[in-house]
Subunit: 312 residues, 4 copies
């Protein structure tokens, strides 16, 4: 796709796959709202007082129908929102279309290239001359990473005029990050520091991102406050277990159109995610074999009637 | 046990293991009555009109709590009842005690010898000089068998004075049957024919017994009408499937005091009984392997996530 | 869509949604082949002898990946194949694209209008001047219906010059059928009779279609032999039960993107389809309520722990 | 039962219900040994070195078949053992008989009165003139309680000649405890202090007992070291969850002889015990309703398809 920002008739920026899917997205949004009473209660309780009035919120988190309900809750509470996905595959195009048309600036589509992915992330952070967002809703820590790398590069540049060198790394994705920062530096050498100044903090909802944050905190590199959403009980005990129990067969069926019943399935590890996956596969009629490194934990699948085998 | 008939204070005959368990039996009878609304509705609907008034009913059917509810339904409708078990192990002694004390003549205990078993059967059929029962509730066909063999022996004896010869067979159980008939012949050489005359018919509830009946019907040997209860849908689709699903783990747990979870269980055959057994073992946390000779039927356990293997 | 037949570079006719999905279709076809060992064994065993050499086969059956494996088995055995869907929604566009590109004439896409649907059916039956197909694989009986109505109209027209009158019926779909036949009559007044002459027979795989066929047989209206595939054990005991157990949650998840766990689900009827649906919903974590008109059958869900309620 | 200690031919003390059940107990012991590989491995690994040589171990823990395997593991490692149950109902009489006959001093039967229960506990602690046990295996803390109360009474008695007064409490069970201590004081006013001196420590495996111990530790009243076995992962994550999943239906079936399928069951609380109970009842075909005070935890049964209702 040509990486050009488009605008709605009301002037809001976006870049999505297919705006004609907005109606379908809206339909599923309405279904999802019934399913998310917590967010809907927030709208009812806090909508009138507009606690987010004037707040700029950037999200880097899978642009799905459920996230769309979150976004519209934020806007219902007064916020302005810009959004990108946290993964090149995790956008639902009809969700992105509905939000882009109706509620917030979205830069996301299913099947982005890495180049496109980081362009989208940059767009979601780009609130114009007055600095960046007040809050970041991060998933995996990429928005947080971009700001930290940007600030580091700006300070280096200010100190001795050095620009980031994409060829200094073998990591293809990090080359893209450095290129984006380098090109930005030429335009505005204080952009990321202005972001940092304005930013109140970030919430992070994935193990990967949380680990990165704790490391940065330990080394003193963390530039702003961060909230660990990942370890809340509603995440670890529900998303991991019941979320996977739902989404694993969903994903397998959409991706393969193959019957799960009668297959032999192998699940590596029997933590909450493994428990959810094994339960889903067993329920769909697969014969499930589990491998688990902890000998005590390995008794659990056995006592549920699953075969437990070493990886060898 | 000494094979002597005992009598309650009201003069009703019985022979059970331990009359002191009658209270415990009554307690469970009251629980079971809640669970058997069909029989209880019969008591309400037909009790007042006493349709079984004057009827003599002999049962040869596992003397359990549930059977006890049946017996007391028969007596509530006016019948006189004499009962024995259809199997040397299938009596619940507290059920037998409660019925013997309160409702009907019972000859049954858990762990009979074969000698004791047939003595009990004879007692249940023994209604005194006036002939036998009007109806038989049979399970496995042993009461029916005894009458047929008795009539055959009486006719032979009348014809040429021959007595049944227990040594004519290698089958230990059939030797006992012939001995009983032989000894009875000396006392009353028309006893079983009088029974046959009075008998209106038999109901039979097991595959084994039903097969025997169809064979006797085909060969013209069947002496009285018989009702096939075994093939009613409430038997085959419920007793076989859900009954086994309940009673298999019940039996395993009582007999072994061993945990089922985590074990590998093997189920031979995947008809209704096999389905019930496999479901029960799977639910209790066993890993279940099934063998099934019909290749189409063998797909069913596989599509339920069970391992299917040949017996080899 | 403009109802124009397109042609592949090799000259084979088709009309599908998006030929660019052919590669994706081929990928899933390869997965499905692993899952359909019966068809694949047919290719191995009968491919070399080409038993369908020269045979023309028309299918009117959901144009999915699994049907695609069937089509390519027919062509592997020597047949020429023309295909349409039996339902306006039941085409997988990537399956249609792969078959259209590689193997057979396909006229099917997801979301046809009724007008488009019958145009597709007509195309699948249109083998050119030499008459119609040798065999029909029918699902719901629409191809069979079209031929029967066509023959009837031709005979009427020959007898007294009367053309079918679409306005003679209130049924919108039947108006379309009559229009197609009327317009065809003007071009070739013996088209459907030529089809009937050539046709060896039809196989029918759905209850609806089978019922129609038995009615036509009873009234003497059936013009050619028909095979009832619907009542084979692999259909009723597998497709209905395990097929629904798979496809119900699949469909719900694709259509709504809503979590099934925690919902209250209602299943009307507890035959094989109802059993499969109830099992699937229960396993996905829904609380399932069942309604069943037969009081004996209604005990089954209750004994599986489901709530049974009257429809009221 | 007359509270008289009996002796085996080898002179070991015991009091059990029915010594003739010892063979049946031995049979089930052999089954259980297969199921308890950890204990059996201890016998193999540590048996030869006899680490418990000369050690006296008193157990107050349900005298079941599984406990019997533990007892015989202790004796295999060199210990002398005296045992009582921790609950008036929790003895399996065949297990008690087998151990009494073959391995250790047992004072336990199913259906003890409270009077009998504490007499048994006293017997298990009575190692003769040379003081008490070296180790106590406690379950519920009754053996620990008796020693603590005994020591307290002895000190009081030494100080001012006061004997414990059973009428000082309304608690019927504690009256029995005080009576036992009072009567013992007259015979040997240092018995419990001698026990305390010899005792190395106690292991405690139940929440109730553990709580008592922590309270005594906090108040400085705890007289000897104690190990909290209750909170080990193999207890809380296995015994509570899978143990209850096994033993709840086992107990219900033995106690009521009633079918679980089709019933409505109510589970109060959805911790590990509640999870195990709800799973067992659901699997047995009951419709399960759960009540849970924590709103987050209450989502878990709902997402497993169970009905969640307030207690009201």
């Amino acid at each position: 796709m040509a990486l050009l920002v488009e605008k709605t008739s009301s002037g809001r920026e976006y870049k999505v796959k297919d705006m004609s899917q907005a109606d379908f997205g809206r339909l599923e949004l309405e279904l999802a709202e019934v399913d998310m009473p917590g967010l809907m209660a927030c709208r009812t309780e806090f909508g009138p007082s507009q606690p987010f009035k004037g707040a700029r919120i950037t999200g880097s988190l899978l642009m799905t129908i459920q996230t769309a309900v979150l976004i519209e809750t934020l806007t219902a509470l007064g916020a302005e929102v810009r959004w990108c996905s946290c993964n090149i595959f995790s956008t639902q195009d009809h969700a992105a279309a509905a939000i882009a048309r109706d509620s917030a600036a979205v830069f996301a589509w299913k099947g982005e290239t890495l180049q496109e992915y980081w362009w989208c992330t940059e767009r979601a952070l780009d609130w114009g001359p007055g600095g960046g967002p007040d809050l970041i809703v991060d998933d995996g820590g990429d928005a947080t990473l971009l700001i930290h790398e940007g600030v580091k590069a700006e300070e280096e540049y200010e100190k001795n005029g050095t620009l980031p060198d994409p060829s200094s790394t073998d990591n293809a994705e990090f080359q893209i990050v450095l290129t984006i920062i380098r090109d930005g530096l030429k335009v505005d050498p204080t952009k990321y520091r202005k972001m940092k100044e304005r930013l109140v903090g970030v919430s992070e909802e994935t193990t990967t991102g949380v680990k990165r944050l704790y490391q940065m905190q330990a080394s003193g590199a963390l530039l702003f406050p961060a909230i660990n959403v990942n370890d809340s009980v509603t995440k670890s005990k529900f998303d991991n277990l019941y979320g996977c129990r739902h989404s694993l067969p969903d994903g397998l069926m959409r991706a393969t159109d193959v019957m799960i019943a009668g297959k032999v399935a192998f699940v590596a590890g029997y933590g909450d995610v493994g428990k959810g996956c094994a339960a889903a596969l067993k329920q769909a009629g697969a014969r499930v074999i589990v491998s688990e490194i902890d000998p005590i934990c390995a008794l659990q699948p056995q006592w549920k009637g699953l075969q437990v085998l070493p990886l060898e």
